[in-house]
Amino acid sequence: MRHGTINRIPITLRVALAVGILMIVLGMVASQQVLRSLSRLHDDRLREIARLHVEGLSVALGPLVLHKDVWEVYDTLDRARVASDGQRMLFTVVADDRNRVLAATDPLRAPVDSDATPFSENASDLSGLTASGNAPQVRVRAPLLVAGRIVGQIVSEIDVGDLVAERQRITLYLLLANAGATSLLVFAGYFLVARMLKPVTLLAQHMDNAGGAPSRIPESEIPKSDTELARLLRTFNTMMGAIDARTEAERRLAERERFVSLGRLSSSLAHEINNPLGGLLNTVDTIRTYASRPEVVQKSVDLLERGLVHLKDVSQAILEENRLDRAGLPLQPMDFDDLKLLFEPEAAQKGQRLEWDVRADTDNLSYLPAAPVRQIILNLLLNASAAAPEGGNISLSVQSSDNDSVELTITDDGMGLSTQDLDRLMSSAPVAPGGGVGLRLVHDLVGGLGGHILHTTGAGRTSLAVILPKGKTA
């Protein structure tokens, strides 16, 4: 889920964010190093200060502590305190070898002869002294040596408030500087990346235009330099050209399909025309032979007229099917009569029985365009006729259901559709090589009308139902 969210962020923003995160990490690492160095510097300084203080006092105090001279110890501490007034040393206590207080800079806090343990127990040695805590004062202890012998110890409280404050101040500055530098780099990164990725953005825009269809990128918008991105854009344009060419080829193929289906009917249609012609010629002979007999002539002329009207209807249907300018005409019940006229001879030739059940009136049909619907029905009928055996059954049923769609059902009792044919008819997947384009054309035409196809088999019959919504294209 989160991954998806990240993927939805534009790449320019993502790169800027990545730069920002990297900068923050870098800033934190760098700050950490600076603070660590600063801390080490402070500790060294503090240790040096403490060492000087303690060593100076140790030299002076050693013999006095050895003799447990309370006054001299106090006097030394007191003068050291006055001398360092306002400096680091806050409090110092000196204890003897039994850790009893000999004297302190503040005797009220550490009375003479009291236990010095509370002062020494949480004090650090000189080497372990550090100002890295946040406490404004630290405590250091050191042994007092006379001739290599420990005679007591000294514990001092050292003011490190300024060091702590300095570190806090520097931490704040580092934080602010890092934040500033990071945001600057994030913005700079954003603009830089946005600029560098402009061709990609352009490509994305043209690949997924408002209408959802890809479009060519104008040559003027392609960067002049021959970078890989510019090449990418040109390649995209080339691909777009190829796609356009293919679409055009498909369109022309679909155009031809009409002639193909008509061509498939040509043989039976020729018979349809040829068969009556023989009878009509006989009728002409009859008229010529019995020209003096008006009743025979009258009867023959009627016969001749019926035959010619039929021929006129057939040729009219063929012309109708072949007309290129019917694109905008609405579907009418008459169109089904044309289809029946065109298809009947084909079925008859194979001895197939045709059930024709059109139960839709002009009101319902006129919402649909005539040309694609005729093409759909003719192709499916031809397909059914090819699938059904000699003397089989084919049926067409047209129904208007729920007043919002028209259902065309073509049924046959053939072997059923092959997997390949079903793929052609039901899916948009690329067409496998070989085989005709008739079923794929049906699929595309139905899709274009916003309809869908239902395929059912049962009781030895294959049924294809095309459901076309009304009012989609009228």
Binding site: V70, W71, Y74, D75, D78, A103, P107, D113
Partner: protein, 283 residues
């Protein structure tokens, strides 16, 4: 001593033609007890200027850490004269003679003060039992003898009466020890305390007087009895007694908060003598 003789011998052998230079090498040496002024270079300089002028020759002012060292130096001749405490003077009464006694606030006497921290509620020595106590010097009258003899009258000694006693080797240090809280109470020279109250009011303000002793003889100037006839010693005595009559002398006395140096009277020290006898009887 030997070193001085050696230096003198060398000087004599090399600069024989100039006796005045030789005299200049042998400075007159006056020792000072560690009273309040022991750390004030200006006071020392003014006093030396005044006495040098009064004697008509350069003198050297010698300071030591303890009273005992001063007394010892005076007795063994290392110094020609000394400003001592009445207590060691009486201890060596047989060998020493008075040259003059300073007059402070109109009389040649002073008191010993028993002091405590300003916040301490003690009303007398009795209330200070079991605390820590600071003495100035075991040879000091005001800084030891007075309190020790008071305790002797009570049948006590400082070590039994107080939890711990310390010697600070100076009256000003007693005030510091009490003011800083190192000890609960201290025995101090009243003259030093009063003078410090003028000079270092912040320090003294942190102490209060628990008790004052009777008036006792002010620390006198003294010299060895066998040297009293020396011209140098007489010259010093004259310079001391006439200090209030010269500008330099007045300047020094003002800094010391003293009126003048008066003719000595041994009866001034009867009070100290009686306290000494109390301590001796107790001991």
């Amino acid at each position: 001593m030997k070193r001085r003789e050696l230096i003198a011998a060398i000087a004599a052998s090399t600069v024989l033609s100039s006796p005045s230079v030789l005299r200049a090498e042998q400075l007159f040496r006056l020792a000072l007890t560690p009273v309040f002024l022991d750390n004030d270079a200006v006071v020392i300089a003014r006093l030396r200027d005044a006495l040098s002028e009064g004697m008509g020759r350069d003198i050297d002012l010698v300071q030591r850490r303890t009273y005992q060292e001063i007394t010892g130096a005076l007795l063994d001749g290392s110094v020609d004269a000394a400003w001592v405490c009445g207590y060691p003077f009486l201890q060596h009464r047989a060998q020493l003679n008075l040259l003059g006694v300073p007059v402070w606030r109109g009389q040649p006497r002073y008191q010993s003060y028993l002091i405590a921290s300003v916040a301490d509620m003690a009303a007398s020595l009795e209330d200070l039992r079991g605390g820590m106590h600071a003495f100035s010097d075991p040879d000091s009258n005001s800084g030891f003898l007075v309190t020790a003899s008071d305790l002797a009258r009570m049948g006590e000694t400082p070590d039994t009466y107080f939890a711990r006693t310390i010697f600070t080797w100076g009256h000003r240090n007693v005030v510091r020890a009490v003011a800083g809280g190192l000890v609960r109470s201290g025995s101090v020279d009243g003259y030093v305390w009063e003078t410090l109250a003028e000079v270092e009011p912040d320090l003294v303000a942190r102490t209060r007087i628990v008790a004052k002793s009777e008036w006792l003889g002010f620390p006198p100037f003294a010299a060895r009895t066998d040297r009293m006839a020396d011209a140098d010693v007489s010259s010093l005595q004259n310079a001391l007694l006439s200090m209030d009559q010269t500008d330099a002398g007045r300047a020094a006395l003002d800094l010391l908060f003293l009126d003048e140096i008066a003719e000595p009277d041994i009866r001034l020290f009867d009070g100290i003598a009686s306290r000494m006898s109390v301590l001796e009887q107790a001991g």
